[in-house]
């Protein structure tokens, strides 16, 4: 009887324990991605992927119809400034926290203000910063580290999309509150 009780308790704990484990896995995968890209280009730098084929292995399920630029941000030392010209065709700027949540995004096809030729400038803040202290477009990350991903359509003549990503920037700012 005692053995049955132990077995039932172990199975119950095992069943419940899968959920904290499941919460850990996305963090581990994001950590691995961060490590891979930071090793290549460093924190708060853009990593361009201007051609996607079977050798593209930095993230699963890459789209051959998109060009990518990613920035592994670290807001420990202060905000990060992101600037990106908007091309004519589909373009988006997405923000992911370390548990993979896509917590913010900007899309050129839904917002009239983001038409071709616009320069999007975003100040990305850490969880403890006060957004009211920063001018312009501000996005607050729920975690100190995360991923900013630019996607641009590569369908047809993709020279404009390529130029847009090549002219985009992800730059750490000095930790000073602007006047």
């Amino acid at each position: 009887m005692n053995g049955l009780r132990w077995t039932a308790a172990i199975l119950l704990c095992g069943w419940l324990g899968q959920y904290p484990l499941a919460m850990l896995v996305p963090h581990l995968i994001m950590e691995r991605l961060h490590h891979k890209v930071v090793e290549r280009v460093g924190h708060n730098q853009l990593n361009l992927t201007l051609r996607t084929d079977e050798t593209s292995r930095w993230v699963v399920r890459p789209s051959p119809d998109l060009l990518y630029a990613s920035c592994m941000y670290d807001l420990e030392q202060g905000p990060v400034m992101i600037s990106a010209p908007v091309p004519e065709r589909y373009w988006s700027m997405q923000f992911y926290q370390m548990n993979t949540d896509n917590f913010a995004g900007i899309h050129n096809q839904r917002e009239q203000r983001l038409r071709r030729g616009t320069l999007v400038e975003v100040t990305l803040l850490g969880p403890d910063a006060d957004p009211a202290e920063y001018p312009g477009e501000v996005i607050q990350s729920p975690t100190t580290r995360g991923v900013m991903l630019l996607r641009a359509s590569s369908i047809g003549d993709n020279s404009e999309a390529q130029a847009a990503l090549q002219n985009s920037r992800c730059t750490a700012q000095a930790q000073t509150v602007p006047s």
Partner: protein, 202 residues
């Protein structure tokens, strides 16, 4: 027996951890199963990329679709079986469709390693612009390992040499709809989608 009594708590903790891993693997094996919506043979989720997604769903997405966007930006439909039969490399399939309410859309084939499938033509996907269509705007994509006329989407073994296949299908298809219209945002389980059929198997 006395030793077992002494170590019963650490042993129980270890067994619980092992059981947790086992339960998690079983949940992941179901993959996009229980909590995902079905639309024909395609499956999707309303909570992909969102903070509302449950722990198991987030893990499934992190493993097989890292950095997926929320559906306001793009909605993803995945297909790895037709009428209950897993997609196989020894079979030919046909996808038929028209146009869909989105800024643009694409259909991409992926190996069981979740990466693009190596092929001589470097053809990994079709999108709404590069398909050859009939006069009525409709299109057909043929999927298989042998070259075909028209819109042929080649498939083959995955590119990871050491990858041991744990799935029961040989490849899968991902339909992406970028900036999707209201039908996909509000009724993803009944919105119009391409139809995939099995043509033949060898």
């Amino acid at each position: 027996m006395k030793k077992l009594h002494t170590f019963r708590w650490p042993l129980a903790a270890l067994l619980s951890l092992a059981a947790s891993i086992l339960f998690l693997l079983l949940s992941l094996k179901q993959g996009l199963g229980n909590s995902f919506l079905k639309n024909g043979d395609w499956r999707t989720s309303k909570s992909t990329g969102s903070s509302e997604a449950g722990a198991i769903d987030k893990t499934v997405i992190a493993i097989g679709g890292l950095l997926a966007s929320t559906r306001e930006d793009s909605i993803y439909y995945i297909l790895n079986s037709v009428a209950g039969e897993p997609l196989r490399l020894n079979c030919r399939y046909r996808i038929e469709g028209n146009d869909y309410d989105a800024d643009w859309w694409s259909i991409t084939a992926y190996g069981t390693d979740y990466f693009l499938i190596p092929n001589r033509d470097k053809r990994y996907s079709f999108n709404n612009e590069n398909l050859t269509r009939g006069e009525d705007g409709r299109w057909i994509i043929q999927i298989g390992t042998q070259q075909e006329e028209g819109n042929w989407l080649p498939v083959g073994p995955s590119g990871s040499p050491t990858e041991s296949q744990s799935s029961d299908y040989d490849f899968d298809l991902l339909l992406r709809l970028y900036t999707p219209g209201a039908a996909y945002l509000q009724q993803p389980e009944s919105a119009p989608l391409p139809v995939v059929t099995l043509e033949s198997c060898s």
